[in-house]
């Protein structure tokens, strides 16, 4: 009996850090929610030049959609290769290692690389396109890992049934495995978007400016984003933090809703598809 109470106490003690983490999260949400007073529909839809944040919101969307458009297809195909085709050899191990390493590269280094390679070497300059490529680079490992997991979860019998009907391997995969894995793949792309939605360091010197005239008209124009605005106003201009309360809240809402929808999608499809755990 004494042992039991001791154990109870111990487990409660273990729970305290967990509670601290949860409190930290809700505390962050609470602080941000205090910025709600500075927001209204008009600020969201008026131009940055008139003190709104319209171009920053749309600019962030432009960046994210472009980056997802690049890293999504490449990531999914890479995942198909790794799960279905890759022979178990040295090269496959190196690829696997490279993906993990890419995921661990600090965003500022990715930014430096984007600056020398995309902006200077490829001549894209400080532009939307350079931002797409830089952010795609950051998303790629997340999309590959998520898609791999989704593809692995589809029973081999699906593919085998198609193969037994005489199709080619690719046809079998693309017509049975991939559709079944689609929800998981989409989730991984959304998760990737959520991860880079508030990214600042990587786009700092590759695609952002504080103020420009309107939205980018071509992929070679620079773009205004929410994260960059918060960063520059506080760090470079030394503005009081209250000035960017609304911007921070909008950015948080975008990121949180993306991440939350990815989590919900994942749980939903895990339940719905009986072959998944």
């Amino acid at each position: 009996m004494k042992n039991r109470t001791k154990e109870r106490l111990l487990f409660t003690a273990l729970g305290i850090p967990t509670v601290i983490c949860l409190i930290a999260f809700f505390w962050i949400v609470y602080i941000l929610s205090m910025g709600i007073g500075t927001l209204n529909w008009k600020i969201l839809t008026t131009s940055v030049l008139q003190g709104g944040m319209f171009e920053m919101i749309v600019g962030t969307m432009y960046l994210l959609l472009g980056a997802a458009g690049i890293s999504g297809p490449i990531g999914v195909l890479a995942a198909v290769y790794l799960v279905e085709y890759a022979p178990s050899g040295k090269l496959t191990r190196i690829i696997d290692q490279a993906i993990n390493n890419l995921a661990g590269v600090p965003s500022i280094v990715i930014g430096l690389f984007g600056y020398t390679f995309f902006c200077t070497q490829l001549g894209l300059g400080i532009s939307l396109a350079a931002g797409w490529l830089t952010l795609a680079l950051m998303m790629l490992p997340i999309v590959i890992r998520g898609s791999e997991e989704a593809i692995k979860m589809v029973p081999v019998s699906f593919k085998e049934a198609a193969l037994a009907l005489g199709t080619t391997k690719w046809k079998a995969i693309s017509s049975t495995t991939l559709p079944a894995a689609a929800p998981g793949v989409v989730t991984s792309v959304i998760l990737g978007i959520a991860r880079v939605a508030g990214e600042t360091a990587a786009i700092l010197f590759t695609s952002c400016v504080l103020i420009t005239r309107g939205l980018p008209k071509s992929p070679l124009d620079p773009v205004m984003t929410l994260s960059y605005n918060i960063f520059v106003k506080i760090v470079a201009l030394g503005a009081p933090p209250e000035d960017v309360f609304g911007t921070a809240l909008v950015l948080f809402l975008i990121v949180a809703s993306l991440a939350l929808s990815a989590i919900i999608l994942r749980t939903h499809y895990r339940r719905k598809q009986p072959w998944l755990r």
Binding site: E7, I28, A78, V105, L137, P141, A201, S227, I234, A259
Partner: protein, 304 residues
């Protein structure tokens, strides 16, 4: 016999027909290697110029002053390690305890919600963490310690700890959760209490995975830019005494982010910043590779 031959030939054609796709897939998969290589080459190329001009001063020089062209990176290197170790001192105990609690103690129905919240914590952008630090934590700390300025190494460490906890919890909880049930049941059947099972069976099996998660957390912390930059105060000087967490510090990613924009293209200043970036790249590369090796050699592996 003839039929057999036909079959091999036709299967060969089928394979050939499907091969273009295989090549495309392979190219997509090898993008990661190519990009990593390009990254090393391009960052090293720019950084090498600084190393050849400045030499080891870029690593060990004490003063960083653009006006007098002094590029000594030691204060930043020190600041980075100071802030990172400070954050790990907080996040390792908190993170590992949380991981054990989630994987072993929490009832099944609560596991997913708690994990999801930790995952949300991981997806909050660093600029928002920085904002929280500036608007709330820094004023709080400055009034608590009676300092004129709350933007110090301690604030940066606290914010960074919050950011590294999800990395440590996510990977550790997965590894701890994947310890085979048989092992635990065997221990319980021998009369061990739940805590004894965790201490003597679960933790020894998952300790290398936990170590790897800590290393990945280190990698994330040392490369963190914006959040740290916003709350660390950015003074390019080793604090006196060196363990003074109430002093402002500058970090490697911080100085790159702050000064890259103003550095003229192709200048020594830009080279020096790339040189620091190269150092950061190499540090994180080594740490991440080691973490990977440890995970691969671990007795239990996570599901992912």
């Amino acid at each position: 016999m003839k039929r057999e031959k036909m079959k091999t030939i036709s299967s060969y054609f089928v394979r050939l027909k499907s091969q273009p796709i295989e090549i495309v897939l392979f190219i997509c998969a090898s993008f990661s290697i190519v990009l990593l290589f390009l990254m090393l080459i391009f960052v090293a190329k720019e950084g090498a110029f600084a190393f050849s001009t400045i030499g080891t001063d870029l690593l060990f020089g004490q003063t960083w002053d653009i006006k007098s062209h002094k590029y000594g990176g030691f204060p930043m290197l020190y600041g980075s390690f100071m802030v990172t170790s400070g954050s790990l001192l907080i996040s390792i105990p908190l993170g590992v305890c949380t991981a054990i609690f989630i994987a072993e103690v929490l009832p099944f129905s609560l596991k997913d919600p708690v994990k999801s919240i930790i995952e949300l914590l991981a997806s909050i952008p660093s600029v928002i963490y920085g904002f929280i630090g500036v608007i709330f934590l820094a004023p709080m700390i400055s009034s608590f310690f009676g300092l004129p300025n709350g933007e110090i190494a301690l604030t940066a460490s606290l914010i960074l700890a919050l950011m590294t906890i999800p990395t440590i919890v996510g990977i550790s909880a997965e590894i701890i959760g994947s310890v085979p049930k048989d092992y635990k049941e065997a221990a319980l059947a021998l009369g061990a209490t739940k805590w004894q099972t965790i201490r003597d069976v679960v933790l020894p099996l998952s300790k290398s995975g936990i170590l790897a998660s800590i290393m990945l957390g280190f990698g994330r912390a040392i490369g963190e830019t914006v959040a740290v930059l916003m709350v660390a105060g950015n003074v390019a000087k080793v604090p006196t005494p060196p363990w003074n967490y109430l002093a402002s510090v500058y970090t490697i990613p911080g100085v790159i982010a702050m000064q890259m924009g103003e550095a003229p293209f192709g200048s020594l200043e830009q080279g020096a910043l790339f040189g620091l970036g190269l150092i950061l790249f190499i540090i994180t590369f080594i740490v991440n590779t080691l973490a990977d090796v440890i995970v691969k050699k671990a007795p239990v592996k996570g599901g992912a």
